[in-house]
């Protein structure tokens, strides 16, 4: 028991020593790259939520999501990084761009992309950022990720964990994806097309894809 305790104390002292050597003023190369890519990511995210051109917002979102993929690579989670590139940059942003086109988003600046509650939103966001950053820095100031060990996020490691411990959630998730697919088809199907003999002046609740009103050209 005493031997164990002394060993634990020695380990703690050694890790404390190691922690003290790792200050924030002498960053490693990985940290410098992480900081630079993080700056680009935050800048792109800010532009995404503030730009007045709707299509540019989607393109800045590509930059932000790609920056996050690079951060995953720096954290040695390569499989997640490539899934991020494939699904987010590859499909989600394309879906968003299609949505912008189908709702006739204007090309160029649009005057009213922001609603009237911008000051309130800014205050809430600043309060959130201050609280979260303060708590996180206070809690994990001395915590160190040792990235020089065996890679923890390669396809082999992630696949082994996913298909040994997480098989049941994985299958449940595939059912959920199927349900989402069916739901999206049901939602976006035009019910008026199946019944061409229906009277043109039907109930407005049928949602038969009537041409948008004059205000829809915005």
């Amino acid at each position: 028991m005493t031997a164990l305790t002394t060993a634990a104390l020695a380990t703690a002292a050694r890790s404390a020593d190691a922690v003290q050597h790792r200050g924030f003023l002498s960053p490693t190369g990985v940290e410098i790259v992480f900081l630079l890519v993080g700056l680009v990511t935050v800048g792109a995210a800010v532009l995404t939520v503030t730009t007045r051109q709707l299509v540019h917002a989607a393109l800045w979102l590509v930059v932000a999501l790609g920056g996050i993929a690079v951060e995953y690579l720096l954290l040695t989670a390569e499989f997640i990084a490539w899934v991020q590139v494939l699904i987010y940059v590859g499909s989600v942003v394309v879906l968003l761009l299609f949505g912008l086109m189908l709702t006739r988003a204007p090309i160029g600046r649009s005057p009213d992309t922001d609603s009237g509650n911008r000051p309130v939103a800014l205050a809430v966001a600043l309060a959130t950022a201050a609280t979260l950053v303060w708590v996180v820095v206070d809690a994990f100031r001395t915590t160190w990720i040792d990235l020089d060990q065996a890679v923890q996020g390669s396809t082999e490691v992630t696949g082994a964990a996913l298909f040994s411990s997480w098989v049941l959630p994985f299958e449940a998730l595939s059912v959920l994806l199927l349900a989402a697919l069916v739901g999206a088809i049901v939602l976006s199907r035009r019910t008026g097309d199946e019944d061409p003999g229906a009277p043109a002046s039907g109930a407005p609740a049928s949602g038969d894809g009537a041409t948008p009103g004059p205000e829809g050209t915005r």
Partner: protein, 143 residues
Amino acid sequence: MHLAYPAVLSALLFAIGVYGLLARRNAILVLMSVELMLNAVNLNLVAFDVWLSTTLRDTLHGGQALTLFTIALAAAEIGIGLAIVLLVYRNRGSSDVDRLRDTAETEADDDAEARAAEAALAADEARVATPYDSPAEKAEAAR
């Protein structure tokens, strides 16, 4: 690498997503902000998973599995969300979240509701005061 770097980055991204969610007017831009917030959470999950795997020899990799699940959920969410936005646009001719105020309570609604409630209350009181509508009913009840 200090764990504080990815944690602070994800906190900042989350705050930016909150700002966009509250300040944007177009529904698709609101969805973009939601994507930013989801990505902030994913970055946190991956960073803490790598930290736990390297320090505690955790082989479960729950963080990475949950990240993959979150990415799939985000894909499903964006599909359904865009379908709903397109449906709203087709029916209303606009995808401004500020204009979708059908279920909002205005002051006129409140006044009308208050008047209706007062009228119903008055009717109830009148009914309690004269519980029987006709002498015949009264006689029947007395029997």
